[in-house]
Amino acid sequence: MKYAIVQDTRVGKRGYNQDRAGHWSTAEAVLLVVADGMGGHAHGEVAAELVMRHIAAAFRRDAKPRLANPDLFLFRAVGRSHGILLREAVNLGLPDTPRTTVVACVVQDGRAHWSHVGDSRLYLLRKGEVLVRTRDHTLVQQLVDEGRLQADDMSSHPQRNRLLQCLGGVQTPRIQPTAHALLDKDDVLLLCSDGLWGPLTGRQILEGISGAPLAEAVPRLAALAETQGGLGADNITALALAWGEEMAVEREGPRTETLGEASTEVQDFGATEPEFLRMTDEDIERAIAEIKEALKRNPPR
């Protein structure tokens, strides 16, 4: 695998940095994570750190040296980290569950897979174009999707910080199926907190990354976000990977697979945590009684 990773993080005008970013790799897989702990809630940086560490630990455990299923890995790792925050809040005796956003990306076999919760973003930039930008789980993104707001006005909207989903919140986040795309040579994956993308327009991000070698472009972009953020500049974090290989050759044209034991995939139970707490002994007995009752009404011949 040929790639380069550049990372930059700044406190901005805040007292401390609640953003976390990190990357891990094996010979065949790379993991990138950015988490933005939520300032309005106690210990946002704890949440960001816990989530990043959990995903990294899962990666170190499962990538040997490749992940069997990167999509499923991210779906589970991100989904579980919500439950981990709930548990750690109790263990650490915190008065409130710490909350964070997260965006995590795995690159394996020349393909990028990503998952996110909240307003931390992933951009996939190719040949001077934004090929992919994750949709934030925010009220303003919803307004943009409904055609009631322009994308570049998102950062000036009074309700811009209103998240519809986060990790550690009261509501269990609904983790979306993992998205993925094949990478081509010189593609850039940019993972960032809203401190970076907020003050910048889409064009500025695109031109900032496309215009110079990554090692110069990333710090320059972070500096620009800090300047444009002015006195209210948030924590700023950018983590970028430049891909150095030609696009993996994929079989074009019609495609079928040999018919094997196509196995049924079960998505993670852990992703829906609070729900299963309700399955008590009485619930089990009741379910069995119901089934027996149905069998009695409808006896086997």
């Binding site: 079928t256 697979e257 034991e261 196509a262 992703a271 399955m279």
Partner: protein
């Protein structure tokens, strides 16, 4: 996900009034055993034992469930109960029959009538992909009786595939493995974890689960028919949505099967759920030749050429 090897119940083990003979199948979610009841009638017993959450080793009967997985383990039982509940109310010759359901060894068991035969998957492999059109039409039209009964009871199977269609020794088909089955139109949000098989699951499985309906099972029946025609598994709906590159049945099976049958298969596998047969009844009629498929694919190049040549020769 660590693939742990769970120990099956030992041969000869007495489980309530059933004696375990051997393991019929094992999956990531359960074991299925062949057993005899007190009258020596053979039954198939499915044991809930999700490999990722519970571990049974050595001589222990009760699986070990780590403390932080205990809740998830209990939650997974819900899926198992759904299966029991789905099947208990159904009594149809083309649907597997449930006989009993009980709790033991810190887990739950589903007892089903044992049928002699083999799965459609095994049949396709044994026939090396040379299934006759009349056989396919008859078998699937009969199978639709079972699926119609499922849908009539407001249930969706949601995991129809060659491995989950069973052929009795006399050739009659039945639907098995309702582990993914769900109630439809049950006001409740679908909170159970989605289960699916890539290649056979409909696009709604991947995108918008609120759109799941009888047409989703129809998609899977189409994919299963596709597997009969080509002895291969179609690309997953997820891949098709990203980039359509399925070889349509109309092309894959040209020359071997009638264009009506091939169009019927492609009709079932339309990505837009509204463009598929909307009910098992509609598909059944098409399979029985009582109704033309409402989708017509482009004839392959060779057929077009032949047609053109015939027209020229006839001039």
């Amino acid at each position: 996900m660590p693939a742990q090897a769970n120990q099956p119940l030992p041969q000869g083990h007495q489980l309530q009034n059933y004696r375990i003979l051997r393991v019929l199948a094992s999956g990531g979610f359960s074991f299925v055993y062949l057993a005899h009841d007190e009258n020596d009638t053979p039954v198939a017993i499915k044991e809930y034992l999700p490999a990722s959450l519970a571990l049974r080793t050595g001589d222990a009967l009760e699986p070990e469930v780590s403390e932080d997985q205990a809740a998830a383990y209990r939650y997974g039982m819900k899926c198992f109960f759904e299966e029991g509940r789905a099947l208990a109310g159904l009594g149809h010759p083309n649907v597997v029959r449930v006989l009993n359901f009980f709790r033991a060894n810190e887990t739950v068991y589903l007892v089903m009538r044992y049928e002699r035969g083999r799965t459609l998957l095994e049949h396709i492999h044994a026939k090396r992909g040379s299934l006759r059109e009349s056989w396919i039409r008859n078998t699937f039209a009969t199978l639709m009786n079972g699926l119609r009964e499922v849908h009539t009871n407001k249930l969706l199977h949601l995991d129809i595939k060659p491995g989950n269609v069973y052929l009795r020794s006399d050739g009659t088909p039945l639907l098995i493995d309702f582990g993914a089955a769900r109630q439809m139109l049950s006001g409740e949000a679908p909170t159970l974890p989605p289960m699916y098989t890539p290649g056979f699951a409909s696009p709604e499985h991947h995108t918008d689960r609120s759109k799941l309906g009888p047409w989703s099972d129809i998609y899977s029946v189409g994919a299963t028919l596709y597997a009969c025609l080509t002895a291969s598994s179609p690309p997953s709906a997820e891949e098709r949505l990203e980039k359509e590159r399925i070889l349509p049945a109309r092309k894959a099976g040209a020359g071997k099967y009638s264009s009506e049958l091939l169009d019927t298969v492609d009709w079932c596998m339309r990505l837009d759920h509204l463009e598929r047969p909307q009910s098992g009844f509609a598909l059944q009629k098409a399979l029985l030749g009582e109704k033309q498929p409402e989708y017509r694919g482009a004839a392959p190049m060779l057929e077009q050429l032949k047609g053109a040549l015939k027209r020229m020769a006839g001039r």
